[in-house]
Amino acid sequence: MRYVLLTIISLSLCSVAAAETIKATVNGMVCGFCATGIEKTFKAQREVKTVNVDLQNRLVTIHTKEGETIDDAKLKKLIGNAGYSVVNVVREKS
């Protein structure tokens, strides 16, 4: 029983401390000059470790810090503030 509890606690701690990779497909993002807004907007967020913009695949990839996340509503608001629209979000724990 003790081992089971320790395992559950360990897994929970791992889950809490995990960082997240968020891949957002974005409409309207056609030029690097404009996409700079996305990079600057996300770099200013405390949850964000790195952000990468891929114009060819219309993809914004955000790596969060350990234990941090950005929910869909905030993600859409931030990308909307930069002038674009989110059409799909994929999340991976890392």
């Binding site: 309207g28 030029c31 690097g32 000059f33 996409a35 700079t36 807004g37 909307g80 002038g83």
Partner: protein, 211 residues
């Protein structure tokens, strides 16, 4: 004129003139400095984007190729409509200013408003901008600009972007009613630079920095 002919004509006019310069809005919290030196004179604008649809700033212009009018106005830039598409983005903006104009020591109130419609994909660019200026008893003018551009290669985010563009200005109040300017646009991250040469033999040099 029947409806079909009218719509065809409307589409042809619309498609023919749609094209832009740097957008008058950046991202929320972003500041942008734009400077233009072309056959109409010298312009500098400093804008701060405070909502996703509004930027406020200062617009200064020294006109040439006609009356040498100096204008100084605060300006408000508003995004009226945006279409975010999978392969492109279309916008309609309004830019308006109210301030002072000076011509040979004569100060007059200055009001101006402009609409900018643009569509941009990674390959093509179109914009159209009509502008209406009222400088008291110095001058009242209507001016319009259309621009079309093509990117010779598709650049990604961290690459140098290059555009080959062609701009047509129409200003009935000046000597050269129609002025054509072929130009090259470069931009890299937050720096945009344009250079061209107009049909009335003026060098165009424009730049924009976003920070």
């Amino acid at each position: 004129m029947n409806t079909k002919t009218f719509l065809t004509l409307l589409f042809a006019i619309f498609a023919g003139v749609w094209a832009g310069e740097a957008k008058p809005l950046s991202y929320v919290g972003g500041t942008m400095v734009m400077q233009e030196n072309d056959e109409t004179g010298h312009t500098i604008a400093l804008d701060y984007t405070f909502t996703p649809t509004e930027a406020f700033g200062l617009y200064i212009k020294q006109e040439e190729n006609g009356k040498d009018i100096f204008m100084l106005t605060p300006e408000l830039n508003t995004l009226l409509k945006r279409w975010n598409l999978p392969d492109g983005q279309g916008n309609i903006f309004n830019m308006s200013g109210a301030g002072v104009a000076n011509y040979r020591g004569n100060n007059q109130p200055s009001l101006w408003t402009a609409f900018l419609a643009d569509y941009e994909s990674r390959r093509f660019f179109f914009s159209y901008e009509p502008r209406f200026v009222w400088d008291g008893d110095i001058e009242k003018s209507v001016w319009q600009r259309a621009r079309i551009g093509i990117a010779p290669y598709l650049a990604n985010y961290n690459d140098l972007n290059t555009w080959i563009m062609f701009q047509v200005d129409h200003h009935p109040a000046k000597h050269d009613h129609f002025v054509a300017t072929p130009l090259i646009r470069f931009f890299y991250k937050t720096y945009l630079f344009e250079i061209g040469y107009s049909s009335n033999q003026h060098i165009m040099v424009n730049w924009t920095i976003q920070f």
